[in-house]
């Protein structure tokens, strides 16, 4: 064989050998067993910043609005609280989190009243919000829920964007609560969010007695959330640690008095014509619970949350106001 030919081949082989060796070293993973299994915890996790805003001095912290016209009510209530402008400013991206958990018509009081959602979205727009995102991860099939609950339409009417919980929209969230440490969360909406408003219907709940503004955040989590029920009160308390919203709105225009959280009959619903707006979820929920005619002292998660300094059940002592509107 010719020399040139030999060198050529030797060179090529040499390169191949070196390449193979480098590749093998590069890919080599010595870890096994313990290290491997320890590893999953250190997965990439996201975290949520606080969306709270500084309140104007003397502005009301909790407004209880009575009336029939959600828009008038929201305006009146927020006026007391120092106007929407003190919560949402120009250019904000506002995530509104309704409860659209089930595929029910609004009249059944199972999902957030679309008119309330609309009112809030409008106010945000007037305050100059750049973009409004409506997001929830329903228990029933998402499109169905958004459509049948009227939230879809409401959002479209005010030009808000509805975000559906596609698998790609989820990320691991570092909660570091007492019951939840890391959990998959419907994170996509919050990548751009600068303000967050929770709009929860006031519902009876078979397990935790009542689902209000705190329980509402359940709808942002994914994964095996049907395990939460094993420690439901700690988990709900964790929510108020996980999410620090700009504002929460308790939509008690209708209340689901029984057969919660799914309802199904008009007779389960009571027209209450009330909206509670607040910044302290615990306070709002404590008040909200009285709307059922039930005793807040007996609602664990409120007191668990209060004990952890996540809010106060003593709404009476706070700067609150009852407003008649619309």
């Amino acid at each position: 064989m010719e020399r040139r030919e030999f060198l050529k081949r030797a060179g090529a082989t040499g390169l191949a050998v070196v390449g193979a060796a480098l590749g093998a070293i590069w890919l080599h993973d010595p870890r096994s067993g313990a290290e491997y299994f320890r590893d999953w915890k250190s997965k990439k996790t996201k975290s949520l910043k606080s969306f709270r805003v500084n309140r104007l001095k003397g502005a009301v912290d909790m407004a209880v609005v009575r009336g029939k016209d959600p828009e008038k009510m929201m305006r009146a209530g927020l006026a007391e609280m120092g106007s929407i402008g003190s919560f949402v400013q120009k250019g904000d991206v506002v995530v509104i989190k309704p409860n659209v958990a089930f595929d029910r018509p609004p009249a059944l009081g199972v999902t957030t009243n679309p008119d309330v959602l609309k009112a809030i979205a409008r106010l945000c727009q007037e305050a100059g919000a750049r973009k409004i995102i409506v997001a929830d991860n329903p228990i029933n099939q998402p499109e169905g829920c958004f459509f049948k609950s009227g939230i879809q339409q409401a959002a479209e009417e005010v030009g808000a964007e509805v975000m559906l919980p596609k698998p790609s929209a989820f990320a691991l969230l570092k909660i570091e609560g007492e019951a939840l440490s890391i959990w998959p969360m419907f994170y996509q909406p919050f990548e751009q969010a600068t303000k967050v408003i929770g709009v929860a219907p006031c519902k009876d709940h078979n397990l935790c007695s009542a689902s209000m503004t705190m329980k509402n955040w359940y709808g942002l989590l994914g994964g095996r959330r049907n395990q939460f029920h094993q420690k439901i009160h700690d988990v709900i308390a964790d929510f108020s640690h996980m999410m620090k919203p700009t504002l929460v709105v308790l939509d008690a225009t209708r209340i689901l008095m029984q057969n919660g959280p799914t309802g199904g009959r008009l007779s389960d619903v009571s027209e209450t014509n009330t909206i509670v707006i607040g910044t302290d979820m615990v306070a709002v929920d404590t008040f909200g619970y009285t709307l059922f005619g039930r005793d807040p002292d007996k609602l664990d998660y409120l007191h668990k949350a209060e004990a952890r300094g996540l809010g106060s059940t003593k709404w009476k002592e706070q700067n609150w106001k009852e407003v008649l509107a619309g």
Partner: protein, 338 residues
């Protein structure tokens, strides 16, 4: 030709696609059977009134339609006369004229009225006045200043009494008057039934009022406690004050007690009281111990004795005899625990 056919098919399908029954995609709630009879509504109102609610606002499930509380109130053989009417602070005059001020002084929220008339004999009627006073203390306030001594008390709401066939009581945030057209046990009974029915619908957190606890029971004349949101003893600076009559031997003594928001608020109040005494009479004695300050004023014929103990302002007013007055004031002082 064939191509046109295809286009035709396309259009046909599109058109078909746009006409459909949305009912197939979401439930029309009106397909749901309604069981919202007035009874059901009332049941709900009543059933919620289990008195456990800790919030006065949570108490009234139907704040925007308080008239709901007067629905179906007429007993057998009686019927409502006209509609339920409502009055706010701005329109209260139209219903009760000059007496309106008194209610407005107590931050009156809403008056809801209904006349019930005997279906047989229209001369017999009962006018129901439901005053929503916003807060229990205020409801008690108007109740207390309208009540005069020695009226037969009836166990209605927190406190109630009867004048012939008319009933007056307060419960939760409500003050209720049932004014009957005449006297007579029969009418009185009907009135009582109505009162009971209405009472059941009003919710109440049962929290006792501060003053009623704080004012000592000893020597107190039953049913004389009054609460003033403002202008207690016609003094502009005396707000949020409880007043009660005490029997000291022969004499009757009017004692008052007020819890001020803060210490210096209390101090201020005492100062203005003293100033008032100086202006309309003269201060004849002033004691300061570590615990309390006590001022005695001679108003020409009667004496006012006022003290401050911590945040509390208390005393007696318009007592004929100084010694009795001072004794009463000191008794009150002693009985206070803060």
């Amino acid at each position: 030709m064939l191509l046109l056919l295809l286009v035709g098919i396309g259009i046909g399908i599109y058109v078909k696609g746009q006409v459909y029954d949305p009912g197939l995609f979401s439930l029309n709630p009106y397909a749901l059977s309604r069981d919202r009879s007035a009874e059901a509504q009332l049941d709900r109102l009543v059933s919620l009134g289990d008195g456990k609610s800790k919030s006065f606002s949570g108490v009234d499930m139907h704040p925007s339609s308080p008239s709901g509380l007067l629905d179906n109130l007429a007993p057998a053989e009686w019927k409502p006369l006209g509609n339920v009417t409502q009055f706010t602070a701005d329109s209260l005059y139209e219903k009760i004229d000059g007496r309106a001020e008194q209610y407005i002084d107590y931050k009156f929220v809403r008056l809801t009225c209904l006349s019930l008339v005997n279906a047989q004999d229209s001369k017999q009627f009962i006018d129901v006045y439901l005053y929503d006073m916003g807060r229990p203390a205020q409801a008690f306030g108007v109740f207390s200043v309208e009540r005069s001594e020695g009226l037969p008390s009836v166990s209605l709401g927190r406190e109630g009494y009867r004048v012939e066939a008319s009933y007056f009581f307060w419960k939760g945030r409500y003050y209720v008057q049932l004014l009957a057209s005449g006297k007579g046990a029969e009418l009185a009974q009907v009135g009582l039934n109505v009162a009971r029915a209405l009472e059941r619908r009003l919710k109440d957190d049962g929290e006792p009022l501060w003053g009623l606890k704080a004012l000592p029971e000893k020597d107190r004349i039953r049913g004389t406690v009054q609460y003033f949101l403002i202008d207690a003893m016609s003094l502009d600076f005396m707000k949020d004050t409880f007043i009660a009559q005490y029997r000291k031997g022969e004499a009757k003594v009017t004692a008052f007690l007020s819890k001020q928001s803060s210490l210096d608020a209390a101090v201020k109040t005492l100062v203005s009281y003293e100033a008032y005494l100086k202006k309309t009479g003269k201060v004849i004695d002033k004691r300061e111990t570590g615990v309390y300050t006590l001022v005695t004023g001679d108003m020409g014929g009667t004496f006012d004795i006022v003290f401050r103990k911590g945040k509390l302002i208390g005393g007696v007013t318009m007592v004929e005899t100084r010694s009795i007055g001072e004794k009463a004031a000191l008794d009150l002082l002693a009985a206070l625990q803060d």
